[in-house]
């Protein structure tokens, strides 16, 4: 390990390099651009490619193509660009293409306030594309975690053959912290599994018992089929209900069945509490400070921080919520994650604290918000 003083965005770029990413396509957008700028410098030195495309649509489609050419690939953007990527995100889902999309959130709707932070993409990253699907979403709260979760995002993408979202925000992007970076061999790096059958017996969408099909890629002699239509195990278009259900249920279940390893939370002051703050990303830093302030004044508050926003393990959330008298969902938007917490807890216990700030929320705003209900 080596210690490095870097920003959250650079941590994402370094995490991707550690994970083996060698193709990056992107289109400039604040506050994500410096991920591409940093990689444009670094990646060619280690045999990779960075290309700025004509738009975000091209970027993500190129990333899907590059992944099918056998190279771990990534793109990074912010809310407006992510909106443009949604159709191809669905393409990555149905073709079971491993890739990582970074969304560094900024304030919206529309062009919003490009330079200011937000957590308002919680729904679009999980549900934005048409069709039925579930994809993993990880939300770091520090530069170190941006690095670690980027590696995890690639490992999950490769082992499950799915797109994975890294959901950061403008605060994490440009906050500088010491980060421990791994040397090769110091962290686990997972690569997609390859077929063991010869090309003439290979079925590109036939899953193993783990619901994930081995992946042959371009140029390996397997005559692979990348198919955006509903398809059977051969990759042939089918319009019958059986094939439709088989495929959609499998791509949903391959993610849901891993919820235990995908869903990560961290509890602070979690031994004895009456009030539970639930938060994620940069806002969780303020929520932690708020919990500390509340405790100092004798109010038993604790923080549950979600590192994973999809898939959620409601049982785990419920376990923490059951212990609390009141649950405050603290997020920098108009109230989005609160709907999930409401599903996990008894409804009348859950209070939404939507901060809708443009900076990292101030702990005192959270403290005040909590006090109102005591």
């Amino acid at each position: 390990m080596r210690k490095s003083f870097i920003s959250g965005n650079i941590a994402i770029a370094e995490g991707a390099i550690t994970a083996g990413m060698r193709f990056f396509a992107g289109y400039p957008i604040t506050p994500a651009s410096d991920i591409m700028e940093y990689l444009a410098e670094r990646l060619p030195e280690i045999g990779g490619v960075v290309t700025q495309f004509e738009d975000e649509i091209a970027s993500i489609n190129a990333v899907v193509g590059a992944s099918w050419a056998g190279v771990k690939s990534m793109t990074a953007t912010s809310g407006p660009g992510f909106s443009l990527m949604l159709e191809a995100l669905g393409l990555a889902v149905i073709t079971e293409t491993p890739l990582v999309v970074v969304d560094v959130m900024r304030a919206g709707p529309s062009t919003g306030v490009p330079t200011k932070t937000s957590q308002s993409d919680v729904m679009q990253v999980r549900y934005g594309a048409h069709g039925d699907y579930v994809i993993p979403v990880f939300a770091p709260w520090s530069a170190q975690e941006a690095y670690d979760l980027t590696i995890k995002a690639f490992n999950v993408a490769e082992s499950l053959r799915t797109p994975v979202i890294l959901l950061s925000d403008a605060v994490i992007a440009h906050l500088w912290e010491s980060v421990l970076l791994a040397e090769p061999g110091e962290v686990e790096v997972i690569n997609r599994k390859k077929p063991s059958s010869p090309p003439d017996e290979y079925l590109p969408y036939k899953p193993d018992n783990d619901l994930v099909p081995p992946m042959a890629t371009f140029g390996e002699g397997y005559n692979v089929i990348v198919e955006s239509l509903i398809h059977d195990e051969r990759g042939f278009y089918r319009q019958d209900r059986e094939a439709y259900r088989n495929l959609v249920k499998r791509i949903v279940n391959k993610v849901l069945s891993r919820v235990d390893s995908l869903f990560e939370v961290e509890a602070y002051y979690g031994d004895d509490y009456k009030y539970l703050l639930v938060s994620f990303g940069s806002t969780a830093r303020s929520a932690l400070a708020a919990a500390r302030i509340l405790r100092k004044s004798g109010i038993k508050a604790s923080l549950l921080r979600l590192k994973t926003l999809s898939p959620l393990k409601l049982e785990t959330l419920r376990k923490y919520c059951d212990e609390a008298e009141k649950i405050f969902v603290v997020e920098n938007n108009m109230g989005k994650l609160v709907h999930d917490v409401e599903r996990a807890a008894e409804n009348d216990k859950v209070i939404s604290l939507p901060l809708l700030d443009l900076e990292i929320p101030e702990p005192k705003d959270i403290v005040e918000g909590v006090r109102k209900w005591l």
Binding site: R22, F23, A25, P44, V49, T51, F53, E54, D55, I57, A58, S59, N61, A62, V63, V64, G65, A66, S67, W68, A69, G70, V71, S73, E87, A88, L91, F218, G219, E220, G221, Y222, N223, V224, I225, V226, E227, S228, L229, R234, F236, Y237
Partner: protein
């Protein structure tokens, strides 16, 4: 009487996913002629050892023309409407030894995908793009396309198309492509010849292939019979050795000049980023 099994194999079967036949194309559609000619060019390259079958990747978007990726027995990607060039660019950049061919309708390539076409040509990206011009949005049932003639009835221009057609050959020629040609399914040998040539080049290679859609475009212009449409198109095609861009307009009145509009050997994008092979 003993009926012997019908011997139905074809010399190009080895390049086709015969398990997926019969294809979905209408009787009399020009797409089969286009695909056959493309396959013959590939066959020639493979036989002479200048192309490896396993390196060939077919990338298509969505549309009747894009369905070619169903039937080719190579690595094949049937992606999103308009996005084939972007997907193909990513694949080629990631693995330069691939020979990546994009096939699509004019709506797919020059309509919804127009920005990707412009930028791939501007980059001189090492790809072959074959655009099938059938003058209409065929797969979706006959709406106006970028190449639809001025004034024509389509299902979304019932009072006549108010827009003159897009001359994609001219657009791409104005950029940094290494090869720009126009062919027609009425002259299959030239389709084969141009694709064969493009396969031996680097950089961005663009071939527009005029094709017949009797089912829909034919109906719009009152030539529902495939033979009538085909012979009419054939009568309007003018073959030239080195045509000038000035005569490249898509004009049903003056006729369609086909030929090689642009041939050059500038460094491709991969050469410029130090990943070139040729």
């Amino acid at each position: 009487m003993v009926v012997s099994t019908l011997e139905s194999s074809h010399p190009l079967d080895k390049y086709l996913r015969t398990a997926r036949l019969p294809h979905i194309w209408c009787p009399g559609c020009g797409l089969g002629i286009a695909l056959g000619s493309i396959m013959r060019a590939i066959d020639k390259r493979i036989k002479e050892g200048t192309l490896k079958k396993e390196n060939l990747v077919f990338v298509t978007g969505i549309g009747c023309s894009a369905r070619t990726s169903f039937y080719v027995n190579f690595d094949a990607a049937h992606t999103l409407h308009g996005r084939a060039i972007a997907f193909a660019t990513g694949a080629k950049l990631a693995k330069p030894e691939l020979e990546v061919i994009v096939i699509g309708g004019d709506g797919d390539i020059a309509g919804i995908g127009g920005n990707h076409l412009l930028h791939a040509a501007k980059r001189n990206m090492d790809l072959i793009v074959l655009m099938i011009t059938n003058f209409v949005y065929a797969m979706t049932g006959g709406q106006v396309a970028p190449t639809t003639p001025l004034g024509l009835y389509t299902t979304t221009t019932p009072h006549g198309n108010p827009e003159p057609p897009l001359n994609v050959v001219k657009v791409v020629s104005s950029l940094n492509a290494n090869y720009v040609a126009r062919a027609s399914v009425t002259h299959p040998a030239l389709v084969e010849q141009y694709v064969y040539k493009a396969l031996g080049m680097r950089g961005f290679r663009f071939i527009e292939i005029l094709s017949t859609c009797p089912e829909i475009f034919g109906r719009h212009i009152g030539m529902r019979d495939p033979f009538t449409l085909y012979s009419t198109l054939r009568s309007k095609v003018i073959v030239k050795q080195s045509p000038s861009i000035e005569e490249s307009d898509l004009d049903w009145g003056k006729g369609f000049v086909i030929g090689e509009y642009l041939v050059r050997d500038n460094p491709g994008y991969l050469d410029r980023i130090g990943r070139g092979l040729k």
